[in-house]
């Protein structure tokens, strides 16, 4: 039985699409780091993807219900991890996000918190007795999400902190939200805005202001947006070809192998490449959603939909930023951006989705 499950029932389309996206990512990392100090990044990314595949199968071999049961443990371990990052993390360009591991690898706890939060939210919502959410549940879930988000914001990493939000929102949305709660939340959000603004760091404020008008500061915060738009626009219909994009190759594009990898991709592969790539992401997203629809129980659906929500949020924020339609928040593009923590965490989450799929005939 177990054999049958592991070979034929695996979500092969999901894995294929994910690996195709990873392959394009590796190609783009190769091109973007060509001739720089980072020129071995594509190879490291290959290793991360390989490790991700291992993780994918490891997660698939466990039952997601076991994982759901252990979610509180993971959660508190994560919180401890985030606190540890703040206390002894490695500082890179003004932020503490990484915990150093052996052999020069660094571990970004906040990436894995996403998977943990998905499990935790799914567990809590699946445990609900009533048809609709009670205020008590809402407050509890909100607090559980706000704690790691606050710790991540302290790093400071606004983008990642914000990415925890769609997990919660998606869960609440699926669980069924009364109009009363919606109104209260909207009001609370509106009230929180000025407070939130004051909590932001200067550079984060600058980014938001610049998002509204990039030309205000073409050499500062607006620089990244403008350079990204130039790169995308210069790509035109067919792109400039691999390792041929001047914006990417001459470093006008900021971090072309991580946060702005899609700009680099758009410059070198053009509108046609963009459509292909967005098509792959759309297929991936729909595959995840399909798994949610076929989930054996609510817990499985919440897990899969949490992943879907997170994926859509990442795509919207990252790619929206690339075309200048979203502020610069510095979150990676799933499966494409260079980075071990991000790749592993995404394979972990896709593994969870696969896990849900594997259990669909159980009932």
């Amino acid at each position: 039985m177990a054999h049958y499950r592991t070979i034929r029932d695996q979500d092969w389309p999901l894995l294929t699409i994910a690996l195709a996206i990873c392959a394009m990512g590796i190609l783009q990392i190769y091109s973007a780091t060509f001739g720089t100090a980072w020129s071995d990044a594509w190879w490291r990314q290959c290793l991360y993807v390989a490790a991700g595949l291992v993780l994918f199968w490891l997660v698939a071999s466990l039952d997601y219900h076991t994982l759901l049961n252990q979610a509180p443990v993971y959660y508190w371990v994560s919180i401890a991890g985030l606190v540890a990052v703040l206390m002894l993390g490695k500082e890179v360009s003004g932020g503490r996000r990484w915990i150093p591991l052996i052999a020069g690898f660094h571990f970004q706890v906040s990436e894995f918190v996403k998977a943990v939060l998905i499990l935790l939210v799914a567990r809590h919502l699946a445990d609900l007795k009533g048809e609709r959410l009670e205020t008590r549940d809402l407050l509890k879930l909100g607090a559980l999400t706000a704690l790691p988000a606050a710790l991540v914001m302290k790093q400071p990493d606004l983008g990642t902190a914000l990415s925890y939000l769609p997990i919660l929102v998606m869960g609440i949305f699926l669980a069924g939200l009364s109009w009363r709660h919606l109104a209260v939340m909207a009001l609370a959000g509106a009230l929180a805005l000025p407070v939130g603004w004051r909590l932001l760091k200067d550079y984060q404020k600058a980014r938001l202001v610049t998002f509204l008008d990039p030309s205000r500061d073409p050499r500062g915060a607006g620089y990244q947006v403008i350079q990204s738009q130039i790169a995308v626009g210069a790509g035109g219909m067919w792109g400039k070809g691999v390792t041929r994009g001047s914006q990417t190759q001459l470093r006008f594009l900021p971090v072309p192998h991580t946060d702005f990898i899609f700009s680099a991709f758009a410059e070198e592969h053009g509108f046609v490449g963009v459509i292909v790539m967005l098509g792959l992401y759309f297929l991936l997203l729909m595959q995840v959603v399909q798994n949610a629809q076929m989930a054996p129980d609510r817990a499985g659906m919440y897990v899969a939909m949490g992943v879907a929500a997170l994926l859509l949020f990442h795509l919207l924020i990252n790619i929206g930023m690339v075309v200048g339609r979203m502020p610069v928040t510095g979150i990676p593009l799933p499966l494409m951006s260079y980075g071990g923590s991000s790749i592993l965490s995404w394979f972990l989450m896709l593994g969870l989705v696969n896990n849900v799929r594997l259990r669909r005939f159980v009932n």
Binding site: F173, F252, V289, A309, L316, V323
Partner: protein
């Protein structure tokens, strides 16, 4: 499978599970999410459509401007050489600093000014001047960077530093020390806004370095090269990645002058610490052998962008060091004009060689008493003695007999009153007064009494040192005037101006000028053993308005001393005019001319001796000794 069920049962009541666990319940909401996802994707695609399909050219162009930088390759100016090919003006390598305004932040002005020792206000003004130029055009903000300044630029290369700064290799003008021939050479400088607005400078652009004065200006087109351009691919730090286009700079052509450095140096030394000018010409072809004007300036201070402090000092100096006195000082020639009065008298027949005047130390003309410069008088004076002793009374009479219009005619024939046409900018014309001139200028009749002053080179008559050398040289040649010029390979092919004057009359005057130097005349100090030097002294009073000005400034009212001389007497090879302002007596200017003439003949015999020494072993039999430059007295 059973394992799973029991596990799930552990934390859920089976009755509820059937209801809560039906995932289909949320089906509608999941569908809603799918539409949301579709909307997000369309939103993103529309962003790419906007950038990549609607107007990619706009962004391609900006990507190009980002990464392609055009840097000027500055062309070196041609060298300036003396007549023997010795370098007078050279170039030396230096670094200039370019500011690229595409990357410029106005708040950097202070830092840039501080790091490069520039005046902040001046830098801002400079940037303002270039406001109308396209932003991709870089502007030079400093030349001749010191190693410390270069280090400053290098240290601020990163994008958070001063990425707008760029170093370019330049060739800076290196002028001779001690202001040698400063006025002849002139200087280069950045084309000014006022100049750019005049049609003469139509082909220049802001920032261009052009010849501003002297030869540098006159032959700017010959000397200046054509700047090249380097198009490089740069990365975000402005580091060059690849050369994608190169247009070589075309160096300016060298220019050989007629100036002889040996003579120039002697003339400069003779004028050291004095005010005035020296011009040495070869009357046989018009070549300028030496030209000095004092006080002088240091052209090296102009070679780049002159500091405003230096500039203010130069233009506020009452002695006006920027004035090239050799061609721009217009002063009364005094007695040096007498040979031309004599020429006019002889040629018009107003006097002949037997004409004599008794000089009692002064004479009365038209009711006014005119003194001779020697109070006790010269006794009986004829033309020869009149020239040798520079007797004023004799020339009062000559002038009175000849009349102003004939004097003016012969003065103009000799080249006074108009530009000689030397290849230098801003040559002055001087004034030759005549009845016509007075009518034109003042709408007044000429009074015969005025002629008396003009006859001894005073009154309204003014000449430049160059005009005097030119006029005397042509007269010594028997009435053949070659246009003076400074450039050898641009030698004008034009024929000399030949005046039909009697050679007999000319030689009488030349003989008189021989006497000035060699027969105990006023110019004995110009005498050289073995060389027949001819000459004429002159001391001129300052024009009355000039005198007033000087009196106000509390300066001594001293006469200007002139001397003009040539040699050898009968076949002149060199003519030298010297002006020694406030030198009081003409005989004080004579040694200046003597030194230059001596240097000329010393060099000539040196060359001849060297030639003989060279040819001796080759031709075996001894050749006769080098012909002495000095041909002895006539």
């Amino acid at each position: 499978m059973t394992e799973y069920l029991s596990e799930a049962d552990e934390h859920r009541a089976p009755a509820e599970r059937a209801f809560r666990d039906d995932p289909k319940l949320a089906g509608g909401r999941i569908a809603l999410f799918q539409y949301l996802a579709l909307a997000v994707f369309l939103f993103l695609i529309s962003g790419f459509w906007q950038l990549q399909v609607r107007n990619p050219e706009f962004y391609s162009e900006r990507a190009e401007r980002n990464s392609i930088k055009a840097l000027p390759v500055l062309a070196p100016r041609g060298k300036i050489l003396d007549r023997d090919g010795r370098v007078i003006v050279d170039n030396h390598s230096s670094f200039s600093l370019i500011l690229s305004r595409e990357h410029f932040k106005p708040e950097h002005v202070r830092l840039i000014a501080a790091g490069l020792n520039l005046d902040e206000a001046e830098l801002s003004r400079r940037l303002y001047r270039f406001r109308s130029r396209p932003r991709y055009e870089p502007i030079i903000i400093k030349e001749e960077l010191t190693p410390a300044e270069i280090a400053f630029v290098e240290a601020h290369r990163d994008p958070d530093g001063l990425p707008e700064l760029e170093l370019v290799h330049a060739h800076r003008r290196l002028y001779p020390q001690n202001s040698l021939a400063a006025h002849v050479i002139g200087y280069v400088g950045e084309v000014s806004e006022a100049e750019l607005n005049s049609p003469e400078f139509i082909k220049y652009e802001p920032g261009d370095v052009i010849g501003k004065a002297g030869i540098e200006r006159q032959y700017d087109e010959h000397l200046r090269g054509i700047d090249g351009q380097r198009q490089v691919l740069v990365d975000n730090l402005g580091r060059e990645r690849k050369l994608i286009g190169f247009k070589e700079a075309i160096a300016g052509k060298n220019l050989q002058l007629t100036i002889d450095l040996d003579l120039q140096v002697v003339a400069e030394l003779a004028m050291e610490g004095r005010k005035g000018a020296v011009v040495a010409l070869d009357p046989r072809n018009g070549e300028v052998l030496a030209m000095v004007s004092r006080p002088a300036f240091d052209p090296n201070k102009f070679a780049g962008r002159i500091g405003s402090a230096d500039w203010k000092e130069l233009i506020s100096n009452p002695d006006n060091p920027l004035l090239n006195r050799a061609i721009q000082a217009q002063l009364a020639p005094g007695s040096t004009f007498k040979p031309f009065v004599a020429l006019a008298g002889l040629e018009t027949g107003a006097i002949d060689e037997n004409f004599q005047v008794r000089c009692p130390g002064g004479a009365t003309f038209y009711g006014r008493y005119f003194r001779c410069w020697v109070k006790q008088g010269h006794g009986l004076v004829d033309l020869h003695k009149g020239l040798v002793q520079s007797c004023d009374v004799f020339f009062y009479n000559v002038g009175n007999r000849t009349g102003i219009d004939d004097i003016a005619r012969y003065a103009e024939l000799a080249g006074f009153g108009r530009k000689t046409g030397i290849d230098l900018p801003h040559e002055a014309e001087g004034v030759v007064p005549s009845s016509q001139w007075k009518m034109r200028q003042f709408r007044q009749k000429w009074y015969a009494g005025e002629t008396i002053s003009v006859a001894i080179g005073q009154g309204a008559l003014t000449v430049t040192p160059l005009q005097l050398a030119y006029a005397v040289g042509g007269l010594a040649m028997g009435g053949v005037w070659y246009r003076p010029h400074l450039v050898k390979d641009h030698r004008p092919k034009e024929a000399p101006r030949v005046a039909r004057i009697s050679s007999d009359n000319a030689s009488k005057i030349v003989y008189g000028m021989y006497g000035v130097v060699n027969e105990g005349g006023t110019g004995v100090r110009a005498r050289l053993p073995g060389i027949s030097v001819c000459g004429k002294t002159g001391s001129s009073q300052l024009a009355s308005n000039e005198a007033l000005k000087r009196a106000k400034l509390g300066l001594a009212l001293k006469d200007n001393a002139w001397f003009v001389g040539f040699a050898p007497c009968e076949s002149p090879e060199i003519v030298v005019a010297a002006l020694y302002e406030s030198g009081e007596h003409g005989y004080l200017a004579a040694p200046i001319v003597r030194d230059v003439i001596k240097a000329y003949f010393d060099k000539k015999s040196r060359i001849a001796a060297a030639l003989v020494a060279q040819s001796r072993p080759r031709f075996g039999p001894e050749l006769p000794a080098a012909p002495s430059a000095a041909q002895g007295a006539p």
